[in-house]
Symmetry: C2
């Protein structure tokens, strides 16, 4: 059976068509069983493909005139979706012309168009943006939501936890994922009412949800590797993720300054290159690029707007892996197993309140 | 004229009396004009002082039986304050027995007791926790609130901006501080209604407030050094700060692993020590310890609960500098200059809405 195609929104991202196509071409070399649907301005895509015959021979181009910009509000993006590269890429997933879509465009627009076009899984009110972050432990940590939902209620957070746990079973192979809520302290009294409500619901339901709910975690423990899923609202998740990225860049810059400040340091740098390469690998956000919208009936992956070609290739590779692993079907089945009843619990609690 | 004393809550912090006393002793060596009021269990303080005759000779002990714990809610802490080391340290500032207080205890309790005991400056509804973070630019960046106010409205954020700007004029010597609001994007449509409201108010009033309001910033730009004051609510600020700290620790750990993984790396490490020392200095949160509650009629500094003696010494040094620079008087004067009228604006706006 041939694998479904990956639709690439060639127009999104700060760097435009060239980087998206170069990234897809890099990914294609690693995942040569995949075919691509490249969506956007045909002339520019064809020009970019000239350097990548390998990708060209495994791609089809779907022309679109329109582009969703970074300034478009989700509501505007929804109205304009049909004529845009982002809208067409997601419509291709809905129609079965592609198995998954990748875009580096406006996150809010991507969320809105994906939700309206693909709909959420049974029992899920809103999709959430999830990514794997590196840790000092044996496996990465899944964090969600990273920016799709600026404001969330406790019911959303509980559903994010359930989706995150299902993703952890698929992506990390953990049968009972260790789940925590991000908070500004670990004591039960810390944080907002909605965090405490979500914690109470998850604590009571953890066994039925096949997860180990370990309470709250603080943002300085994200990389420690003692938790599989960290759940938060999209505002805090985005702040945390970008703080991590900014600090990594800050450190990389300091290292560069330090190592180039004297001949002695330069020599030391050359000798210790394996160590600094390891660090560079971990610090470059391009190496962790590609966040997936969990909870949709279809795979939509967000590539960082500022990613380079290697970063785009990683986002496409994440997409390929999600497709190969049938992640949508498996999470849907997993959610059905833990039961819609469990997912509905928070609403019951809210009605009570 | 002799300088006012610094009251040290000797009982707060994860490490207890020994680290607080050792930290005060270290700070005393650097700021030998200061005297101290050490508040807490007299027997344990005396025992800890045995190793530090220099501090002992410049200190007085104020005995207390009670301690505010990390689990105490602010309301509980307020009721119990009088018999505790934290409560007595702040009461000493109120009574003029000390010029400033330092505590490594429960942040929420410290905020509540300080606010009730010392009261807020004219025009300020709530104090905010502010700290200086290192950047790649010429000066540090002031960030607030770092965790004193879990939930804020737009009026609070505007006041934090005004206080942050006043602090920047004192601590950074910038006449027109560059102020931004932390958000999950820089476009005007991004974020929550309250962030957009605060931005609109600051944009309109920036000139009167002697600041340059430059709109939103994202968390990955905190260390870039192109802004003097970053304003946010206490939840997001705490998430951002701890993400930065956690990433710094993550990187330091990776470096250690990388540099000790082979003989070659070890040699490289030794040769390039100036570079790694620079990095270590920047990465260790103890070197940036000491956040001040801005907006109070008195100086209260929060030391990180997990700080070591060097970290406590830095928090005490921050306190000493705030005292030497008369920061409370100068910020109060600065706020009076920009005018209570400006501070009241957000309320007018809210009434309109």
């Amino acid at each position: 059976m041939s694998l479904p195609r990956i639709a690439v929104d060639a127009m999104g991202g700060d760097e435009g068509v060239r980087v998206m196509i170069e990234g897809a071409a890099l990914a294609r070399r690693r995942h040569d069983r995949f075919k691509f649907l490249l969506v956007g301005d045909e002339t520019r895509i064809k020009a970019a493909l000239e350097k990548h015959p390998n990708l060209r021979s495994s791609s089809e181009i779907l022309h679109s005139d329109g582009v969703i910009s970074g300034e478009d509000k989700p509501s505007q993006a929804l109205r304009r979706a049909k004529g845009t590269s982002m809208g067409l890429a997601i419509a291709a997933v809905k129609a079965g012309d592609a198995g998954a879509a990748v875009s580096a465009g406006n996150t809010g627009a991507l969320m809105a168009i994906s939700k309206v076009t693909l709909r959420t899984m049974p029992g899920i009110d809103r999709p959430a943006l999830a990514a794997l972050l590196p840790t000092l432990g044996d496996n990465d940590v899944i964090m969600l939501d990273l920016g799709a939902n600026t404001e969330c209620d406790s019911r959303n957070l509980v559903q994010f936890a359930v989706m995150g746990a299902a993703y952890a079973r698929v992506a990390l192979g953990r049968e009972q994922p260790r789940v925590r809520l991000l908070n500004i302290g670990t004591e039960e009294i810390k944080g907002t009412d909605l965090l405490r409500d979500a914690a109470a619901t998850l604590k009571a339901a953890a066994k039925d949800l096949s997860m180990s709910f370990d309470g709250f975690t603080e943002a300085d423990k994200l990389c420690r590797g003692d938790v599989d899923v960290v759940v938060t609202d999209g505002f805090s998740g985005n702040i945390a993720l970008k703080s991590v990225e900014g600090t990594a860049r800050f450190v990389a810059d300091l290292l560069r300054r330090g190592f180039t400040s004297s001949l002695r340091s330069k020599i030391g740098f050359l000798i210790s290159r394996p160590a600094t390469e390891l660090l560079k690998h971990h610090l470059d956000p391009n190496n962790h690029n590609g966040a997936v919208f969990l909870g949709l009936n279809g795979i939509v992956v967000k590539s960082h707007g500022g990613a380079n070609a290697a970063g785009v290739a990683n986002a496409v590779a994440v997409t390929a892996r999600l497709l190969e692993e049938n992640v949508t079907e498996r999470i849907t089945a997993d959610l059905a197993r833990v039961g819609e009843a469990s997912l509905r619990m928070p609403r019951a609690q809210e009605e009570r309140a």
